[in-house]
């Protein structure tokens, strides 16, 4: 009997302790899980949101940015803003929308200089090497130049004019006698500053700056271009290869 009363006294205490401990652990675990799910969901950046120059690739950026807003303060053009809760980009991270205020590409890159954590990479010293995104003609049907008109605005405002955007002259098949000056973006020179998208005269821009991961292709590592290898080597890659004359279509009688 004595034994049993002792057990009766002990068990509830022990049970309460175990229950309370489990409850605490479960509560903390639920907090962590909820936070992780929310964080995982906020990892993708909306396609119209661009990171400041020098930003690490998005996954690394999210591990490095402490959401302090110092880059926003450093920006002289109020281009950058911090994301609000549930506004698209991960809450508190800096971004800009090209159509609203594009990046003016300051030569001293103050936003990168002020970043305390390295989320904006200080190895970026030449703003021309920034890759915030890449411009894409998203609407060939509405682009005025592609209709044969001379708008040229995206080309004219481009800070890397004639490198990032060139005008390629082609034949205007609609009229049969005019030219089309097609704006062509060269991703190897485009910084993604967004001035072209900002300046597009259409209500819905025909040229938009998209995140690199979405809009820029990448050459496979193992691909070699014969003509480039030949230039690098400075000689024929396969010596003694006979170059036969090209066969041209026979002249019609």
């Amino acid at each position: 009997m004595v034994m049993s009363t002792e057990t009766d006294r002990k068990t509830p205490t022990r049970r309460r302790f175990v229950q309370a401990t489990l409850r605490t652990a479960a509560g903390a675990g639920a907090c962590g899980l909820g936070l992780a799910l929310f964080a995982a969901q906020s990892r993708s950046l909306p396609a119209d949101a661009l990171r400041p120059p020098g930003a690490l690739p998005e996954p690394q950026f999210l591990s490095a940015c402490v959401r302090c807003g110092l880059c926003v303060r450093a920006c002289p053009y109020d281009t950058l803003t911090l994301a609000d809760l549930a506004a698209g980009p991960a809450a508190g991270t800096p971004f800009f929308r090209a159509r609203q205020i594009p990046c003016e590409m300051c030569e001293d890159i103050p936003c990168v200089k002020t970043c305390p954590t390295g989320a904006l990479d200080k190895s970026l010293t030449d703003i021309g090497a920034a890759r915030m995104g890449v411009a894409v003609i998203v609407s060939r049907d509405t682009c005025l130049n592609l209709q044969g008109l001379r708008c040229d605005v995206c080309y004219r405002v481009c800070p890397v004019i004639d490198q990032a955007i060139t005008l390629e002259q082609t034949h205007n098949r609609r009229t049969g006698k005019h030219a089309v000056f097609e704006p062509v973006v060269h991703p190897d020179a485009c910084t993604g500053c967004g001035k072209c998208e900002k300046s597009c005269v259409l209500t819905d821009a025909a040229i938009k700056v998209l995140p690199l991961g979405l809009a820029a292709g990448r050459q496979d590592e193992h691909y070699r271009r014969g003509w480039e290898e030949k230039r690098k080597a400075g000689r024929e890659l396969v010596p003694g290869l006979i170059d036969l004359p090209d066969r041209l279509p026979e002249a019609k009688p």
Binding site: V66, R67, L70, P116
Partner: protein
């Protein structure tokens, strides 16, 4: 019941005995520092006078002094990013400062959530809300670990998305007002779910400062504990009331200094004590005032004695 009646009038006697200022001194000073720190950040966007830039997560004062929150950097490390020297220097300065000036003094003197949870606690006392859901003290350590695990699992500085400390600063400085919803949730949680629930049991930012507080120099001492007449006013106002008992009762030869890292050094116990038992000092101060006038016949630790006085 008695404790609840007691809680509603905590500090009244100190006010009557020592005047309004003495009974509210540290409360007012804390509100002034909290507003003052925010003002250092706000003067730039509001008046064009740039003193401190950034938020409490990371800041730059006079374009020279970098400060970084330790737990924010811990998350970044958990997410496998090694921050640049500026951020690490900022953490060293902050950690060094709070190793001298009291660990969770950040919570009581700087953090903008403190007025919110203080308001919830005050309303609880005035409305006589039951203590409610009680969380174990270890909860804060487990939550901090869970948050770091979430940062590691997602590779993001996850807590900064919902951290009310920086959400308030971002809302005030950068206009991201939707984040204030989290602050409202924290207020409701403290008011109706758990007493001193957020700051005392959940917030991992405070947990990091509690860790620093385990070794910090600045402390509150119950050096006048011989004068204590068990009115329980200090227990009623203290947001971490478990820290008081060992120093105040001095059981098992405990010294008069409140040693727990959980103490926020808010000084509210110093304010409300009618017997002026508490004082700010350093952690190696072992002085205890002698009991000069013997207090009225010892009433043990029962509340009725306190009720009579009230």
């Amino acid at each position: 019941m008695t404790a609840r009646i007691q809680a509603r009038i905590a500090g009244r006697e100190a006010w009557a005995l020592h005047g309004w200022w003495t009974a509210h001194k540290y409360l007012i000073l804390r509100r002034l520092t909290q507003l003052g720190v925010l003002a250092l950040f706000l003067s730039g966007p509001l008046a064009g006078v740039w003193i401190a830039k950034g938020t409490l997560a990371a800041s730059l004062t006079f374009d020279a002094l970098p400060l970084t929150d330790p737990f924010v950097v811990l998350q970044s490390l958990a997410a496998r990013h090694w921050p640049e020297t500026t951020a690490l220097t900022g953490v060293a300065i902050v950690a060094g400062f709070y190793l001298v000036f009291g660990g969770r003094t950040f919570c009581a003197w700087v953090c903008p959530v403190n007025p919110v949870t203080d308001l919830a606690a005050w309303m609880r006392r005035r409305l006589g809300v039951e203590k409610g859901f009680s969380m174990r003290r270890e909860t804060r350590w487990l939550v901090a670990l869970a948050v770091l695990a979430a940062a590691a699992a997602t590779g993001t500085v996850a807590w900064e998305m919902i951290n009310p400390v920086t959400l308030i600063y971002r809302a005030a400085l950068f206009g991201t007002l939707a984040g204030l919803a989290v602050v409202v949730a924290v207020f409701v949680f403290d008011l109706v779910v758990a007493r001193d629930g957020w700051c005392g049991h959940v917030c991992p930012i405070g947990t990091a400062y509690a860790l620093i507080g385990k070794a910090t120099l600045l402390r509150v001492s119950a050096r006048g504990r011989a004068r204590c007449d068990d009115c329980l006013d200090c227990f009623a106002v203290c947001p971490e009331s478990h820290v008081i008992a060992p120093a105040l009762r001095g059981r098992d030869g405990a010294g008069p200094v409140i040693a727990s890292g959980d103490c926020t050094a808010c000084g509210r116990c110093v304010d409300v004590c009618p017997e002026r038992v508490f004082a700010f000092t350093h952690r190696f101060d072992t002085r205890v005032d002698a009991a000069v006038p013997p207090p009225p016949p010892a009433a043990g630790r029962s509340a009725p004695a306190a009720l009579e006085k009230a």
